[in-house]
Symmetry: none
Subunit: 422 residues, 2 copies
């Protein structure tokens, strides 16, 4: 079954919000075995909504419309569906009762404005989906071969209807295949090098299919399998995941779409070790990424952000002679790592220093990065390299290289050598 998503809302076209609903709905539809072939977004404009519905209904078996079911005058999805179906809107007293009851219970939001009665109208012949969280009823309508659903644009109201009503209906309708996607994530190898190692798999695979997605400092390989059941789809995907992992080797940090920071925290937790950082060019970015995850405090102690040379000496005890040799150096990265390890009493420490740009920093060209690890056995390792791009990209590459160095150290796989003289 083919599905299409139509988002309604001028705020999307003005760039005031991103269409995160389309992502969420697509993921659920794929899980249910539907093939989402298109997304559309249109503004609060009757004619354009009708046009979008016509286009979608002409090529999809299921059309999901989100947004425009609210109580205000610019909420016109109901009207557009009625116009497209060529039917009138019909008032339903039981929906009025439902609305009044909600307003009575939620006394905090006051008495019901008259405009909310718009939500008691339903295109003739359509069913409605009773809302639990909000006031807007969802709509379901069969039009020829196309099943059309409309849900509110408020994310939690939309999610309630898709998860609670629509996906179960579609699963029953579809009968057919379940889609399973596995994401293998790699750091330290470019997209084209990854693709080269997997070229014959890519060329020959139809089910599962293979795709690549590069983002800063990592490459994702997606393996997507379709089968009548989840277990069968997983069984199709698994050998390809294993083959991809085998060919790419230790640049793979996750076979299950974990981020690098999730992987590092998982490895720390599994080995009962703690981590501290010393951050210069990243300014706290590594700490912020690790602590974005709930439960980080079980393994992550802290990070000394030392943005000036003086702070590197004062806070981390980087010796004067090392600082005199430059702060974007192997020696400084190593002294920062051992300094953070000792300051925080951590089992493993990661240091990051570099010239983020746009100007050279302390004698180093923009893009020059040194990352280092140190542990309590006295082991240390530093890696220097040059990152391309602008300031934000250089910082992101440094974070990725630093986290990957810790990941490799914790997994006991070879640590990358420097491409810079020490």
């Amino acid at each position: 079954m083919r599905a299409e998503i139509v988002a309604v809302g001028t705020e999307l076209l003005l760039g005031q919000i991103a269409d995160t609903n389309a992502r969420w709905m697509s993921e659920r539809l794929a899980d249910a075995g539907l093939d989402v072939t298109h997304h559309q977004a249109v503004g609060d404009n009757l004619e354009r909504i009708v046009e979008a519905l016509r286009l979608a209904a002409g090529r999809a078996d299921v059309v999901l419309v989100s947004g425009g079911l609210g109580p205000t005058e610019d909420d016109i999805t109901r009207d557009a569906i009625a116009a497209f179906a060529g039917v009138p809107l019909v008032f339903h007293a039981e929906l009025e009762t439902m609305l009044r009851e909600k307003f009575r219970r939620w006394s905090a939001i006051g008495t019901m404005p008259a405009s909310n009665l718009r939500q008691a109208y339903v295109p003739q012949g359509a069913r409605w989906i009773v809302p639990d969280r909000g006031t807007a009823p969802g709509l379901a309508l069969q039009l020829g071969g196309t099943r059309l659903y409309a849900v509110p644009g408020v994310p939690d109201e939309m999610q309630e209807m898709i998860g609670g009503t629509i996906v179960p209906e579609l699963r029953a309708l579809a009968g057919g295949d379940v889609i399973v996607s596995r994401i293998v994530r790699c750091a330290g190898m470019g997209e084209s090098a990854v693709a080269e190692r997997l070229a014959d798999l890519f060329a020959s695979s139809t089910n599962p299919t293979i795709a690549y997605l590069a983002s800063m400092g990592e490459v994702k390989v997606r393996i997507t399998a379709k089968a009548p059941s989840r277990a069968q789809a997983e069984a199709l995907a698994e050998p390809v995941v294993a083959e991809v992992r085998g060919r790419l080797g230790d640049v793979v940090f996750s076979e299950d779409d974990e981020s690098l920071e999730q992987t590092v925290l998982r490895l720390l937790g599994a080995s009962g070790r703690t981590l501290a950082c010393a951050e210069s060019l990243t300014g706290g970015g590594v700490g912020a990424r690790l602590t974005a995850l709930a439960g980080a405090s079980a393994s992550f102690i802290g990070s000394a952000v030392v943005y000036t040379a003086e702070a590197k000496g004062r806070v981390l005890g980087v010796p004067e002679n090392v600082l005199a040799g430059g702060t974007v150096t192997e020696a400084c990265a190593l002294a920062m790592a051992t300094g953070a390890r000792d300051l925080y009493g951590a089992d493993v420490a990661l240091a990051l220093t570099g010239a983020a740009g746009p100007e050279p920093h302390d004698g180093a060209a923009p893009g020059t990065i040194w990352v280092a690890v140190a542990d309590t056995t006295g082991f240390t390792h530093a890696r220097g390299f040059v990152s391309r791009g602008e300031r934000d990209r250089v910082r992101r590459w440094a974070e990725q290289a630093g986290l990957d160095l810790v990941r490799r150290h914790l997994e006991g796989v070879p640590l990358p050598a420097s491409s810079l003289p020490g």
Copy 2:
């Protein structure tokens, strides 16, 4: 001029990523005076991409395609544009030279795989946009009345081309009126309170227009003026900006779309003072935001990320009896601020501690936040409050409240009181 955005990538239809590019591009196009009427997203499928281009070109003056310009075999936007335009792809030796030169400079990512040569092909008759950050050239092609641009899907590569090349070209094409937008940014006042103070201005203004945009921890008021010249548009906007500023008072931190961290660095620079932080729940996020700006090292020394109670004592010298009373308290925030001031030798220090959630932390309910400032005169001030929402939102609110506390301290305007008992 009407514009339409076509996103290419199966990962969008599978719901693996949200199309944040469409939001960013839409905002820039709206700023440039274009009317974005539709978004479409299609997968890595030649026929569907061509169909989407045909639809878009039939109803828009400008079509922006993002994604599918990478080096791998599933990157087929180039092919689709050529097929749609009915022209062949032409190899350009100067693009090969550009690509090889990039790989040579970025020795960290190795020698250039043969597949990258795909990026040296351009549809006949198209111009290319030389990439600075990535390897994928953008494309520009005039087809009848439609101007078609293709940009990479990697956000910073896309942004570089849209901001640096495409928007300036479209502004020139559009001719006519110049649009000037001024953004007044406020922290510490909700959107509805801001709107209430500006209600009559909002109702009566047609040129300039006024719009509100709330994002976490701040409200932006956008004043948009149109006139035949930039100077005339600016002259129209200026008195409205002054009126807005006057009505909103010291919650305004910028009249020129400066971020809170830009404002703080500017104020530090102007008064020759330095800043250090002590971060618990934000994990380094404040440091990361300040150092995202080039030149931060002139005023920002560093940040002690102390994620555990032990680290707060060990690194910042927070006394044992304070820690025993809880780490999400006024006393702990104040001790962290003075500790960071002394550890880094900074003129001003900011501390942030709280319970980011989802679990309560050290006796404090999720969402509880304490921020504090301290300076070398012995002045200290703490503010405690409760933020709604999930972990990332709580952390963002803490960053905003902390930076705004420093901003107010540096500007010498009243500091907000706590809504929690000390």
